[in-house]
Structures are given as structure tokens and as C-alpha cells.
């Protein structure tokens, strides 16, 4: 039964990936829609970023002095100026670790 459920979940996920690429003719989308689609990364990824920072494992809001907020600010600054993905992730993690392990 669990196997059957996984396969259904997999088929649904695959259809989400495939539908717009393979089944929907791009010409059906108007110019306005295409212009709005340029915002997709900015409109989607904060829904992963914000809860990942501000909500803890138990589904509660963190305190405003939580080390994750500091880590995120460091990562934003380093990322903006370095334009380097590794530097962004590492600086965020290290500043987070410095606070939780050393301070």
C-alpha cells in the first residue's frame, strides 16, 4: 500500500515538472504572463528562506536574537558583495556556528 502511495506521489510530482514544459504551448501565454514569470525565482524562494530562518523545528517563531538571523544577515552581505555561492553559504554557516559554539 505504501508503495502504491509513493508511486502515485511520484507520478503527480512528475506531472508538475513536465506539464508546462511538454504539454502546454508557450504561445498560449500572453506577453503579460511572460513578463510576470520573470519574477518566479524572487516569488518562490523566499517561501523556503523565511521559514528556514524564522521558524524552528517545532513550528514556532524564533526569538529576534536567534543566531540564524545573524547568520542570514552575514550571508546576505557576503553574497551580495562576493557574488559567490560558496562564500555565501560558508559565511552564513560559520557566523552561525561562532555564535552557538563560541559565545
Amino acid at each position: 500500500m505504501t508503495w502504491f502511495t509513493i508511486i502515485i506521489a511520484g507520478i503527480i510530482t512528475y506531472f508538475m515538472r513536465m506539464t508546462m514544459v511538454a504539454l502546454v504551448d508557450r504561445d498560449l501565454l500572453g506577453e503579460r504572463v511572460k513578463a510576470v514569470l520573470a519574477y518566479v525565482p524572487s516569488a518562490v524562494f523566499p517561501a523556503i528562506i523565511f521559514p528556514g530562518i524564522f521558524i524552528n523545528d517545532y513550528g514556532n517563531f524564533i526569538e529576534m536574537n536567534d543566531p540564524k538571523i545573524f547568520g542570514a544577515i552575514v550571508a546576505i552581505l557576503v553574497g551580495y558583495f562576493s557574488r559567490n555561492v560558496i562564500a555565501t553559504i560558508i559565511s552564513g554557516l560559520f557566523s552561525y556556528w561562532i555564535i552557538i559554539f563560541l559565545l
Partner: protein
């Protein structure tokens, strides 16, 4: 003009830095499945059949918590529905591919691969064989996801939890969008999405993950209208 191999390599290199978050997340995902009491084969099969990190964890947590199969499947569908948006964006660059190739390449589209390949596509609209970038990025993410979930299944969560490596997930996505914070319109859209995700975090089926982008895209449409 870049060769297929050059574009493919650029795709691999573009997602390589994201392994800092993908690999620990994969290990956790594999280990959680075993801890929740599912068979190793079943937990691993999900990495091939569903191939979507967060949705795999939620799926197993729901089933082990006694939720019905319908609720588990619905949650996976809702969490992964953001791929409809990715597909709509990518279709512009993939429209010349044959139907079969479209069917195959779609399987490899995941968050980081979409983000990095889309950036490459925007800057290199005139190149041919753009899809090799997506093959490079998606293929790399696929292989690393398989290896890391397998490692988590076999070895357990051998990455110490105190390290808080889950925090690498938001950091990865910060790295993806951070250059857009110099554009006011993008900042408005990002803040709308972020605040909506906190506001709707407790909505059923983890639906904040698609509700907030939809709200943010409506705001984007408004911003576009005001800009004219």
C-alpha cells in the same frame, strides 16, 4: 558559440556549490526514513520515484504519524506544485526540443538546478543546445541526491545534529536570489512572498509553499503595471 560539452560543464559547475546544502539534507532525508521505521528499499525508492527533498520527508512523517495515503499524496502534490512555475519559465528555452526530450529532461528539474540554469539561459538566449546546461545541473543534483540519501539510509544521520546543517538550506536559496536585492521591484516581490510564507505557515498540506508565490506573483503583476 559554446559546445554542448562546455554548456554541460557549466551546468555542473553552477550547481556544485549548492552541494553544501543538498548533501547534508539528503543524508537527513535518508536517515529520517529509517528512524521512522520504513524499509531501506522503500525510503531509497522515493529518491528515484519522487526526487524532491522536502516532500519526501513530509510524506514519510505523515504516513508514520498515521495520516491517510490521500493526505500524504496531496501534501506531496501541493509542495511540489511550484514546479509548474519552474516549467512555465523554462518552457521558453526548451520549446525547440522534441516531445520525448521534453518528457525526459522534465524529470531532472529541481529548485537549485532550475535557478542556476535559468540564470544561464537569461544571459545566453542566443546559444543553441541550452538544455545541456539543465542536463548538467539537474544530472549533478540527481546523482548527489541519490548518493546522499543512500548514505543516510545506510549510515544513519552521521552528520552531528548540533551543527544545524539544516540552516544551509535557506542559505543556499539566499545565494540564489541575493543579487536581485538591488532591484526594488524584486525586493517587493521577495518580501511579499517571505511574509506570506510566515503568515500561512500553518495552512494545511504545507500549502504556504505555493500560496505565497502566487500572492507574490500577483504583486509582481501589479508592480509591472505601475512601472508602465
Amino acid at each position: 558559440m559554446l559546445s554542448k560539452k562546455q554548456i554541460f560543464t557549466k551546468g555542473i559547475l553552477a550547481v556544485a556549490p549548492h552541494m553544501f546544502s543538498v548533501i547534508p539534507f539528503g543524508i537527513v532525508c535518508g536517515a529520517i526514513g529509517i528512524e521512522l521505521g520504513f524499509s531501506p528499499v522503500l525510503v531509497y525508492a522515493m529518491s528515484i520515484i519522487i526526487f524532491g527533498g522536502a516532500s519526501q520527508i513530509v510524506f514519510l512523517q505523515l504516513l508514520s504519524g498515521g495520516a491517510s495515503a490521500l493526505i500524504a499524496v496531496t501534501s506531496v502534490g501541493v509542495i511540489n506544485s511550484r514546479h509548474l512555475l519552474y516549467g512555465a519559465v523554462l518552457s521558453e528555452y526548451l520549446e525547440k526540443l522534441s516531445f520525448i526530450k521534453k518528457l525526459l529532461i522534465s524529470y531532472l528539474v529541481v529548485d537549485q538546478g532550475f535557478a542556476e540554469s535559468n540564470k544561464f539561459f537569461q544571459k545566453n538566449k542566443n546559444e543553441t543546445n541550452l538544455h545541456y546546461h539543465l542536463l548538467g545541473s539537474g544530472g549533478t543534483l540527481w546523482i548527489c541526491w541519490q548518493i546522499s540519501t543512500l548514505a543516510g539510509i545506510i549510515l544513519g544521520s552521521f552528520v552531528p545534529e548540533e551543527l544545524g546543517l539544516k540552516f544551509a538550506v535557506p542559505l543556499t536559496f539566499i545565494a540564489i536570489v541575493v543579487q536581485d536585492i538591488k532591484k526594488l521591484d524584486h525586493v517587493i516581490v521577495m518580501i511579499t512572498c517571505g511574509l506570506s510564507s510566515l503568515l500561512f505557515f500553518d495552512a494545511p498540506f504545507k500549502s504556504y509553499i505555493i500560496i505565497s508565490p502566487i500572492i507574490a506573483l500577483f504583486v509582481a503583476a501589479l508592480v509591472l503595471r505601475l512601472k508602465k
